[in-house]
């Protein structure tokens, strides 16, 4: 079942096009990353999905319904904003108990979620007294208090230090594993998406450049880097450069060779290396495939679109 279906979304602010013909699908039980630089249209997309903003064109279905002014959807959806907006002078536990009453869940759930996000010790503080990291945890507690099926989080880690960031991602992972919550996470900080996401959607200039699960996208867009350990790196690197058209880049050092290959060489590269090594009488001591980073994927996707 698809939790989110967005079709042909278009939104502009005056002459500036924020989202341009966007199609998006988030399946139940997945953690999908919405990836893109600042100004790519992530927040606008999220606002349209949440029904906070009407698209100029196209339509969104959230949990099978139109999200605009739809209380039924609200009780199954949680939201974490980049800059959480809460009444600053209210106390942490008091506010969450109020939210429990709003959603019609037991007030004891307030302390339960505070414990879940490791914020139970701050229950008596006012919201304005929370640090940035604590505030994001509080926002997550606020978002999951009514046990939603789906949580949207917009740039939630952008203002956090690495430790707080890592803790938050662990928490998301835990909620996904234990409570089967579906997540849509937007971020421009790429390593964190690769840590928790099953699939990513790459946005730039309001358009989806690529989408799919990470391994598929790596296969499609990212030139693989292979490290070959050999006794004759200089000879072998020359042969590889000359004879393999799919080798994008090849560099030798004293212990081996690093080559970057294009997608078309993926299936035959190991066989070809062995064959060429035999030709130049080089001994292969080992071959390693280096994992591509999400940054590299993003760069490749955007570059390929630009071409």
């Amino acid at each position: 079942m698809s939790i989110v279906i967005a079709e042909d979304l278009f939104k502009s602010y005056g002459k500036v096009v924020a989202v341009d013909g966007l199609f998006l699908r988030v399946n139940e039980g997945s953690v999908v990353g919405l990836m893109g630089p600042n100004g790519a249209g992530k927040t606008t997309t999220i606002k349209m999905i949440l029904g906070l903003m009407k698209p100029d064109r196209g339509h969104v279905k959230l949990l099978g319904q139109d999200p605009w002014d739809n209380p039924e959807i609200r009780s199954q959806t949680g939201v974490v904003y980049e800059k959480p907006f809460f009444p600053a002078s209210e106390k942490v536990l008091d506010y969450l108990e109020r939210v429990c009453r709003i959603f019609g869940v037991s007030e004891s759930r307030a302390l339960e979620v505070l414990k879940l996000v490791n914020l139970d010790e701050a229950f008596d503080r006012t919201i304005k007294a929370l640090s940035a990291g604590m505030l994001q945890k509080f926002a997550i507690a606020h978002a999951i208090i009514h046990e939603p099926k789906f949580v949207i989080a917009d740039e939630i880690t952008s203002n956090l230090d690495p430790k707080a960031r890592s803790e938050l991602l662990d928490l998301i992972d835990q909620l996904h594993e234990d409570q089967k919550v579906t997540f849509l996470l937007s971020s421009h900080i790429l390593p964190e998406l690769s840590k928790v996401c099953d699939a990513v959607v790459v946005l730039n200039k309001g358009k989806v450049y690529a989408s799919g699960n990470l391994s598929e996208l790596y296969d499609e867009f990212v030139a693989r880097t292979i490290r070959i350990l050999t006794d004759k790196p200089r000879e072998l690197v020359e042969t590889l450069r000359k004879k393999l058209s799919y080798v994008e880049k090849a560099d030798a050092d004293s212990q081996g060779i690093s080559i970057k290959i294009l997608k078309e060489g993926t299936d035959t590269v190991y066989e070809d290396i062995s064959k060429l090594a035999r030709e130049c009488e080089a001994k292969i001591l080992g071959i390693e495939t280096e994992s591509a980073s999400l940054e590299e994927l993003y760069k490749q996707v955007v570059d390929s679109e630009a071409k």
Binding site: S75, G78, V79, F86, P87, S89
Partner: protein, 267 residues
């Protein structure tokens, strides 16, 4: 627990934001003080003047400064409540709750308008009952009509400020527009009279009374004095119609605000 509880929680949260200590206490004091200080009994007991006129005069004089304070309070509540929520983004959190937008706006308006008006009327009526209980008891309709006519104008100003706040997403701008409209209409009161006399036509007065029905009510009760000649003598029914028109206009602006908030407001 249901939608009712959610509504009450939003209302309680709005009240908490709109009337932090000691705002409400200070306003109550101001309303009380100004109600008694400005109460007037001019001409009371003169022969031939009907009691209705005195009750109207007293009620009107009691309301002068408190009504101005009320109008400013309504504008301030719109700016600090609804306006701030939109500007700071708190409305995004509120819209994530399982309530329809119209219920959210209603809760906000009950807090911004309802409590302020309740406080104003409560203190005013208490003051009237203390000052002249028998006169008030025997002229309830006059008191009611005078309040309705004056409140209509304050609500009209507040509803314009609300609509502007929603359209411009800036509470402060909405309030400035509200204050400008308030003073513009105060100036218009004199201009309309001048215009009517200059053209020898009551049309400007009639038009102005549609927005500010207290103008027509004032003429109606003033015309009850036997020795006084007034330029315009609207009938009681006519005066009532102006009050109705004033509320209809305010209701229309509030309807536009609801429509925009529920159907158009992107946050």
């Amino acid at each position: 627990m249901g939608k009712g509880t959610a509504f009450l929680e939003i209302l309680s949260s709005s009240l908490h934001g709109d009337y932090k200590f000691p705002i409400l206490e200070f306003l109550a004091f101001l309303f009380l003080l100004s109600s008694f200080v400005f109460a007037g009994f001019g001409g009371f007991g003169s022969t031939g003047v009907p009691e209705e006129y005195y009750v109207f005069f007293m009620t009107n004089s009691l309301m002068g400064l408190p009504l101005f304070i009320l109008a400013m309070l309504l504008l301030r509540n719109i700016a600090s409540g609804i306006g701030n929520d939109i500007e700071k983004g708190t409305i995004q959190t509120i819209l994530a709750y399982p309530l329809r937008r119209r219920s959210i706006l209603t809760a906000k308006l009950l807090s911004s308008f309802g409590v302020a008006i309740f406080l104003f009327l409560g203190i005013q009526i208490s003051a009237l009952c203390t000052l002249a209980p028998e006169m008030v008891a025997s002229n309830l309709l006059v008191v009611l009509l005078t309040y309705m006519a004056n409140l209509s104008f304050a609500l009209f100003i507040a509803s314009i400020a609300l609509l502007m706040t929603l359209l411009l997403r800036k509470g402060s701008v909405g309030v400035v527009i509200g204050i400008m409209v308030f003073f513009l209409f105060s100036i218009l009161t004199s201009l309309v009279s001048f215009w009517a006399h200059a053209t020898n036509s009551i049309l400007p007065m009639q038009l102005y009374s549609l927005v500010n029905p207290s103008f027509a009510i004032n003429f109606y009760y003033s015309s009850l004095q036997p020795q006084v000649q007034v330029f315009w003598t609207p009938s009681f029914t006519e005066a009532l119609l102006y009050v109705g028109a004033g509320y209809a206009l305010t209701t229309f602006i509030l309807f536009l605000s609801y429509f925009y908030f529920c159907r158009r407001l992107n946050v």
